[in-house]
């Protein structure tokens, strides 16, 4: 009846029980609050069924925040364990639970925090920057969000019901095969990634079509803001890379469920085939994450330097080159496979070549600031921290790209320090910069600047303390994923330092979360009195009111230059003529959420081999899809008079026609 699901699945260690308890209590508190405030109808019609990319973007970021807390708790547990578990002491988590924790940490941070944050920002910013009213496929956009959320929920369920994978965030076989991981952990990992990956692929198609087809008149490819370019390149990578992940996970699934022999040790299978395939996806994946980060900084640096971006064309070519190179470097993740000097040399040289376009970007940002009027706002602080850490991480990456060096530090903490330098110092810092920069656009008020700065300094010092010693530990021979080591290794003081660093980061993250609520509570004080353009912005999103109306642009703008809003402000381009028109707005639909729900049921049932439930989930998905594919193209119509009324009430006065100059 319940497949492999028994009561044993609900028995956990103390730390995990506590997490589950907190999760259930928080969930109940939210439910209770919604009933108490009678907000269910509002939640349903304004948020859950929405197809408005701005709302979907906000929901992405809420899910990301929750998942970030989970991934961060994992990180703190690991650091605490490594600081305590030396010599006689064995810390507070068992070895097998420690394996679950590091597998969950990587999976959560990459798939739910990194990817979720990127897609949240894309939803919020892309339509506004290209002068569009919507994305190309509003329903698919909602569907992608709900698949992402379903996968995130399955991830949380894995905490409460049964075990998560113990095979690391990429689940190399044969360890992840059914012979060595017979329990449900790897199955959780597989189905979480399949559901999230499907959502990502759909989003990739959606945003690529949006950028290619829906730019406002006059915005040629070479007049797009760099953030849009970075999104375009990132989505091209999604489209090329994610099908490889889908196919690879599919084969691993067949190995596990149907006794096939793709990656098994016996039967002619080849585990290294998996490692090749997963990195053929995995390497582009890291660029899927970091390219939009580059894009964010390319928006922030010129705005806060009051100068146009230095070397726009070289920036675009750098993005395109990185996009191309990212597909021909995957072997550098496993030089130790022993593919031979010829193959390793090729991949080493290709890897080193990526440093060139990346260096171009760094210098372009520096030259943009040169002789500019630099404002040291918190987004710029994040940029400086990015510059420092990304350069250190990049240089150690070049070190790692040399096979002889790589053989020495492969799978050591040196590697861990390197890629955390890229994903925290590079990606996360740029995401924080973007979050702070665009926050007033979508809320109408600023994040509290003083708290932002406190959080920033905590993050920066904490990060340096938590990760610089890892380079040393790596050289001293400490491998990654250690839950215990001997005192004679001499690593203990450094591990304690690292744990202190993690604690300081925790302070920073706490200040950020509290700061978010503080800013919402004191929004009157932090109000953006310009009504829509607090930073003297250059691009189209700052030409409309904050928060933007549902249709974004009452008048679709026409663009003739790179920084269209600056051109209008300087009187080099005419302001838009306010000639209002009827606007079509896609209808709300709950179908995306239903498909997400059925996917969750399907995924959970497959993990536990409850096949009748899996069939129900699958049929549910099919019925929803058929229903959606049989509708007529229906839109709500907003009349020109209604648009005019909204615009005249909301449009900030200095942005109205004729008052630009």
């Amino acid at each position: 009846m319940f497949g492999r699901l028994t009561l044993d699945a609900f028995k956990h260690e103390a730390s995990q029980n506590f997490a589950v308890l907190m999760m259930v209590l928080t969930g109940m508190a939210v439910f209770g609050l919604l009933f108490y405030l009678k907000r269910w109808k509002w939640l349903w019609s304004e948020w859950l069924t929405t197809t408005d990319p701005k709302r979907i973007g906000v929901m992405y970021i809420i899910v990301v925040l929750l998942m970030f807390m989970k991934g961060f708790a994992d990180a703190i547990m690991m650091r605490l364990q490594q600081a305590l578990s030396v010599g006689e002491s064995h810390g507070f988590i068992s070895a097998s639970h420690f394996q679950e924790v590091f597998s969950a940490h990587g999976t959560t941070m990459i798939f739910f925090v990194g990817m979720g944050f990127i897609f949240g920002l894309l939803n919020l910013i892309i339509p506004l920057q290209i002068g569009a009213r919507d994305v190309a496929f509003p329903f698919l956009n909602a569907l992608a969000f709900w698949l992402f959320t379903a996968a995130a929920m399955l991830m949380m369920i894995s905490l409460a019901v049964g075990k998560f994978s113990t095979a690391g965030w990429l689940a190399y076989p044969p360890l992840s095969g059914v012979e060595y991981s017979p329990d449900e952990g790897v199955d959780y990992w597989i189905w979480i990634l399949q559901i999230a990956g499907l959502g990502t692929t759909i989003s990739g198609v959606n945003f690529l079509v949006t950028i290619l087809k829906m730019r406002c008149p006059g915005m040629t490819l070479m007049k797009m803001p760099i953030f849009v370019w970075s999104a375009l390149c990132s989505m091209i990578l999604v489209i090329f890379a994610f099908p490889i992940l889908t196919a690879t996970l599919f084969m691993l699934t067949l190995d596990r469920y149907l006794d096939m022999h793709f990656f098994t040790s016996g039967g002619g299978g080849n585990p290294m085939m998996y490692v090749n395939l997963i990195w053929a996806w995995g390497h582009p994946e890291v660029y899927i994450l970091i390219l939009p980060g580059f894009g964010i900084l390319s928006e922030i640096v010129p705005t806060f330097s009051e100068k146009r971006l230095f070397g726009y064309v070289s920036m675009v070519w750098a993005l395109l080159l990185i996009t191309f190179y990212s597909f021909i470097v995957w072997v550098h993740h496993f030089f130790t496979m022993g593919a031979g000097p010829g193959v390793n040399s090729f991949f080493a040289i290709m890897t080193m070549l990526i440093a060139i376009p990346t260096g171009v970007k760094i210098f372009n940002w520096l030259f943009t600031k040169f002789r500019g009027r630099v404002h040291f706002t918190s987004p710029m602080l994040w940029f400086f921290a990015f510059l420092l850490n990304f350069t250190i991480g990049g240089m150690t990456g070049i070190l790692l790209s040399a096979p002889p060096v790589d053989f020495q530090v492969h799978n050591s903490l040196f590697l861990v320090a390197h890629f955390h330098g890229m994903v925290i110092g590079g990606l996360l810092f740029s995401l924080f910069a973007g979050f702070t920069y665009w926050f007033p656009k979508f809320t109408g008020f600023f994040l509290d600047e003083r708290l932002n700065r406190y959080a920033f300094w905590c993050w920066l010092t904490g990060f340096l303390l938590a990760f610089m010693p890892l380079y040393m530990l790596g050289f001293m021979g400490a491998t990654r994923r250690l839950d215990h080591y001997e005192a004679s290794t001499g690593w203990h003081p450094l591990f304690v330092l690292v744990a202190i660093g993690a604690g300081i980061i925790l302070c920073g993250a706490t200040i950020q979360v509290l700061g978010l609520f503080w800013s919402i509570k004191n929004r009157k004080k932090n109000w953006d009195h310009t009504g829509g353009d607090p930073w003297n912005g250059r691009t189209l999103e700052w030409s409309i009111s904050s928060p933007p109306p549902i249709y974004n642009f009452a008048i679709i703008p026409t663009v003739n230059e790179l920084d269209p809003l600056w051109a209008i402000k300087r009187g080099e381009a005419p302001p838009p003529i306010m000639d209002y028109e009827d606007i079509h707005i896609p209808k709300n639909t709950p179908v995306g959420m239903y498909i997400g729900g059925f996917s969750l049921i399907f995924g959970f049932a497959m993990v536990w081999h409850i096949y009748w439930l899996a069939i129900i989930g699958f049929i549910g998905i099919i019925i929803c899809v058929i229903f959606q594919l049989s509708g007529n193209d229906e839109h709500d119509l907003m009349t020109a008079a209604q648009v005019q009324e909204i615009e005249e009430a909301r449009m900030p006065s200095h942005l109205k026609r004729g008052e630009f100059i």
């Binding site: 009213r133 087809k213 915005m219």
Partner: protein, 209 residues
């Protein structure tokens, strides 16, 4: 000239405009989006092809492709699928001429050709399994069943989709949305044909010769 033809013939006119007029623009966006989806599917198959290329000598002591595959069966499957592509194209042409009955007729013919393809494939699979050459026997057979089976799964999804299209067209006739869906479906069906040509060439022809 009916609505669908208008869309069909004027799509170039609307292809480059960025004005978000939902009626006209949806066609070009959907078709581009679907091509991109086909690209992702192409890469999925590419991964499976690559795996087959690596694995197809790993027979683990069992018989290889030369002993197991039969060219006449594979050839008849190819013919069935090629013919179904022709009839699918005829269905779209009937839609451009707004001949509802003919669309449904050609779709039904396409459906039966596709169903016969699936039936042939299932027979081939079950024969292999009955003779003791199931997917769990060797890496070669795993990759063979997965590659060919994934294509078969796509054709099966296409058959279900065709039923939905037949129902939609018999109820609603050719409207802007149903015409768009028919065009997109035909893209899918032709794409499956193309993938099969690769399977026929690389798996069957090169496996037997």
């Amino acid at each position: 000239m009916n609505d669908s033809m208008m869309v069909y013939h004027t799509r170039d006119k609307y292809a480059d405009t960025s004005m978000p007029d939902p009626e006209q623009d949806t066609f070009s966006k959907t078709v581009l989006g679907f091509w991109l989806y086909l690209l992702t599917d192409c890469l999925l198959f590419a991964t499976l092809f690559a795996t087959y290329a690596v694995m197809h000598h790993e027979t683990f002591g069992g018989p290889g492709s030369r002993e197991l595959f039969s060219l006449p069966i594979a050839f008849s499957e190819t013919m069935l699928l090629l013919l179904s592509s022709v009839t699918c194209g005829l269905a779209v042409l009937s839609a451009v001429r707004n001949e509802n009955k003919k669309i449904i007729l050609w779709l039904i013919v396409t459906f039966f050709l596709g169903a016969s393809f699936i039936a042939t494939e299932l027979t081939e699979f079950s024969d292999l399994i009955r003779e003791g050459h199931g997917w769990d026997k060797s890496a070669f057979l795993s990759s063979f069943f997965t590659l060919v089976g994934t294509h078969g799964l796509h054709v099966t999804i296409g058959l279900f989709w065709m039923c939905v299209m037949i129902a939609q067209i018999s109820i609603k006739g050719v409207t802007v949305p149903t015409f768009r869906r028919l065009v997109v479906f035909s893209l899918f069906w032709h794409f499956l044909d193309l993938v099969w040509i690769f399977i026929f060439t690389f798996v069957y022809l090169m496996g037997v010769i």
